[in-house]
């Protein structure tokens, strides 16, 4: 995405009208209007920025940002199944299939069939996977440190608690329905 400046830094909630025909054309930042009050909008903007920043940081390596979470989850839940992994990672299991194929092909993970249940795979990291994860973790930590700096140490726990609550309660709703 690579676009430089522009987030609505000075955009003020409320209405402002740009009548000039070339209003939003080049330099002008647009007003986000009532979006300013929507949590969902800012959630998307922040997540997107964070994703892009992380991708930029690990850009060199061939590892996509999502890989980090997958490897970490496998690392800390050896023997986990793909379905359980998809739940923990918040992605559909069918989205995980190609990602895990790539990781297996590169020799970073192992997929072992269990004799007790031949439907599921037991996932684990190979030594090479451990090494790659260690490298990725350094990037992830640097990335999160810059997030910490932006958010402030005092606010961080509160922010995480709120984000967590949002994910938990909105996902609960799906089950209820």
């Amino acid at each position: 995405m690579a676009r430089a400046n522009g987030l609505p830094r000075r955009a003020v909630p409320g209405k402002s009208v740009v009548a000039a025909p070339s209003a939003g054309a080049a330099g002008d930042a647009a007003t986000i209007g009532p979006l300013a009050d929507y949590i969902g909008f800012h959630l998307r903007m922040a997540q997107n920025a964070s994703f892009q920043a992380f991708a930029r940081r690990v850009g060199q390596t061939e590892l996509s940002p999502g890989t980090f979470a997958v490897l970490t989850l496998i690392r800390h839940n050896p023997g986990i199944s793909q379905t359980a992994l998809s739940r923990a990672d918040g992605r559909d299991k069918s989205s995980l299939t190609p990602a895990l194929n790539a990781l297996e092909r590169r020799g970073l993970i192992l997929r072992q069939r269990l004799p007790t249940n031949r439907r599921t795979y037991a996932l684990s990291l190979t030594p090479a996977g451990e090494r790659v994860l260690a490298g990725l973790t350094r990037h992830a930590e640097a990335h999160d440190r810059s997030l910490d700096r932006i958010v402030g140490a005092a606010e961080k726990p509160r922010l995480i608690r709120l984000l967590r609550r949002i994910a938990a309660e909105l996902n609960d709703d799906v089950g209820d329905s």
Copy 2:
């Protein structure tokens, strides 16, 4: 935050989801391990949940969740260009093209060429677009009210301020670097 190349370490400050010893096989909830401390991870989980919940709410209509932001931005910045819109919305301009095509085809927006600059389109809502936006806005408000309820009225401004800061500063880095 950050245990470097993390050794088996299950207990994280705050709360980790179930500390089932090994084997996160089927029914077990997995531990997210060190991910618990990453803002970026929770950002993705929360955004994802919010997106899904909103999509579920407007599911009937053929309107994708992202449509709401686009229509609102056009509504409050009549005459805006596609590039400026893409900046305000945090999406690449090339991603906007198909979305705007669909909106135009359905008669919800107008794309007018300006005599003064025939490169840019001046975007605006049609009366039908205004009506559709009004309907979508009801959904969006209901959705955000449920987010408000989860977050708490007291925390909301703080949360939005933090999210905004994250988006702004991480995007600044792109330009600065």
